[in-house]
């Protein structure tokens, strides 16, 4: 059972039993995570480099690694949620690489997840565990991607979902959430306050909030690193750039790479680069200033809504993973982000949301500064799909007649 599994604080290392509503360390207040299970030889036999993972995808997706995740899952728990989460392709970006001066450039395309973003991996794991434990109501606090993901997986598993979003979340993001029948609540308050309230309100009202820093979510997200490692097993990446908001996904990827290194499956982790928007850069600004915890910033002002969390609950953890992997954190402007979005669309065929394009903008900056060299093997995480975000302004032509052709 899930209650028997121990969590460890990502900052002070204190051990704590798993609790449905306890996301943070009771000693220091930092995020809790599952202790990696010991690696069993029989687990790896089918699950590693078996030929069912290639650049086009990974068969089984998240569940290929089920025995490497801390919770136990029975078949029926997985069947209840499974929508084909994870298993995303790793795409060579040959033309784009030539343009930006980085020839060995790859895109890990998380926009291909069931609801269009990386969030589905963590949601699927969390909903599988919670549904098997008899939980009937789940919730989340989100700026968009996670809300859509939780609404969809709750619908699939037959759970009720409370989705709390800020009052400024744009209308086009709300429809794909509401269509799944979630109880959508728009709250006129800063993100940090909504997040804090959700933890208290959820515990009082029997709603388990699966927010960005949930240990269950991080356990699902770490499979991104497993997949990258397996898809590049012959030649590991030097760098991986990850658009970063709350820091939960970045930390999960750090944790995933550290596990496959510890197990001896790969020699090293890529250097992980957290990319933020200049208009909301608590993690990147902290990095610049040599701080261990996110810097205080004002309200978010960026086109990249999916990376606009000014008070990232896993910011300290993300800073630690950037440091431990020899990576860093950078910030990019909205203009750079929108230009990158169009460059990705016109030279790789992928139409991603502005937040996802921030990774390319970050790469261009690090190439200009000489931090990343032209021979380096570089990956960018495309975090989410485009259609739910406002597209860049585009010329839509007037209709013509056949005789005009």
């Amino acid at each position: 059972m899930i209650d028997d599994i121990e969590l460890s604080c990502s900052s002070c290392g204190a051990r704590q039993a798993f609790g449905l509503h306890a996301l943070r360390c009771s000693d220091c207040g930092e995020a809790l995570e599952f202790v990696a299970p010991p690696l069993r030889d029989q687990v790896l036999e089918p699950a590693w480099a078996s030929g069912c993972a290639d650049s086009s995808g990974v068969v089984g997706g998240v569940w290929r690694y089920r025995d490497l995740l801390a919770p136990d899952f029975d078949e029926s728990a997985i069947a209840r949620v499974r929508m084909g989460e994870g298993g995303s392709p790793l795409l060579r970006a040959l033309r784009l690489g030539n343009t930006v001066g980085c020839e060995d450039l790859w895109l890990k395309d998380e926009s291909r997840n069931p609801t269009g973003s990386f969030k589905d991996r963590g949601t699927a794991v969390a909903v599988a565990v919670l549904s098997a434990a008899g939980i009937e109501s789940i919730g989340t606090v989100s700026t968009g991607n996670m809300a859509r993901s939780v609404a969809a997986y709750a619908a699939r598993a037959g759970l009720r979902a409370k989705v709390w979003v800020g009052a400024t979340t744009p209308a086009e993001k709300l429809a794909p959430i509401a269509v799944h029948g979630a109880d959508l609540v728009r709250i006129d308050a800063p993100y940090g306050q909504i997040y804090e309230t959700s933890l208290i309100w959820g515990a009082e009202n029997g709603v388990v909030f699966v927010n960005s820093d949930s240990a269950l979510r991080v356990e699902g997200q770490k499979t991104i690193a497993y997949e990258i490692a397996e898809q590049s097993v012959e030649q590991p990446f030097d760098w991986f750039l990850v658009p970063t908001s709350s820091g939960g996904n970045f930390s999960a990827i750090g944790k995933g790479f550290s596990e496959v290194v510890e197990w001896g499956l790969v020699e090293r982790s890529p250097r992980l680069v957290a990319v933020q928007a200049e208009g909301c850069s608590p993690i990147a600004s902290a990095w610049e200033n040599g701080m261990d915890v996110p810097m205080e910033v004002g309200s978010a002002r960026t086109v990249a809504g999916a990376i606009s969390n000014p008070t990232p609950p896993s910011g300290a953890r993300a800073l630690r993973w950037a440091r431990e992997t020899g990576g860093l954190a950078v910030k990019v402007t909205d203009d750079e982000i929108l230009t990158a979005q169009v460059e990705i669309a016109t030279s790789t065929g992928r139409f991603v949301q502005p937040a996802a394009a921030a990774g390319l903008a970050g790469l261009q900056q690090l190439i200009r500064s000489g931090t990343i060299g032209p021979e380096d093997r570089v990956g960018i995480l495309l975090t989410g799909a485009g259609p739910n975000a406002a597209p860049p302004p585009l010329p839509i032509p007037e209709p013509v007649k056949l005789s005009d052709l």
Copy 2:
């Protein structure tokens, strides 16, 4: 080379050499298709039931079956286009199945393709072949999904793309096309006239139009049937429902199943059901009236834009496949389609476009009429993703304050 490959007329059987601009039989005017290659034992060893296909997906996608496609592909041709096309999951719809009275219900989720629809399979194959043959400009005539797919794959491969759409194609469908840098032309004329003009104009202007009935496209689309056969190899489907517009995809699926049956890989094809919208049902109305060719209908009037072709170029072919597999063609109302769209979203977690939801509406009709029984194993093709279509009207709540919670 592609020029050496023979095509056969889907209706009269006449043989004809492959030609870049010759989509139709020079004898009878019907659609041409590739003759299935002879099955070589060594081809099947890695490519069939090897454990790299399961309900979550199929590793390699379309290219898993590259040796079963008529054209030859070298690695660099595939690398130039590859975005992870095909390999889509086959999802058990347990809760939905219980609701509609068909417990063994599955969704083949083509909305998971790179640009959100089944079109990507055919586009990828066509662009790989044409790009390797030195073609620099391609085109398509489309109501939306195919336009987006061609624009994206042309961008990836570095080809120019002419995308011709009708003047009434809604604005929200145009942005994800234009973002890839395609030359988007909105034409104020009926679909059938635009289609006919494209063939002449393309030949005169050196632009290869890859329309719905292109033999290259059909060759890519047939992999849907290969995947379904492989993903259900232990217990084949009794029925498969396919939302149908031009009839090209339906015919490709018929062709694909007939090939795996001929090769002895499975015993039988599912009965294939073409589902159309009442407001545009040239194929379903022809079926009702026992006709061999599509019935003449007026302009399309349906919310399901992706199945609104009133003059389907592969209509006769689709009718033949419905007959040959023991299937049929049905039509459903817009109200049934929109209700089905919400049922799919609230009970399976998938948000698909109205056209894709037509398959469920068709199933409900055939269950009511007793044609499909409660014990039958049934699949529905989810043809395309939701976010580019207008969502059903949804209640978006007013913002509240934290103190109101």
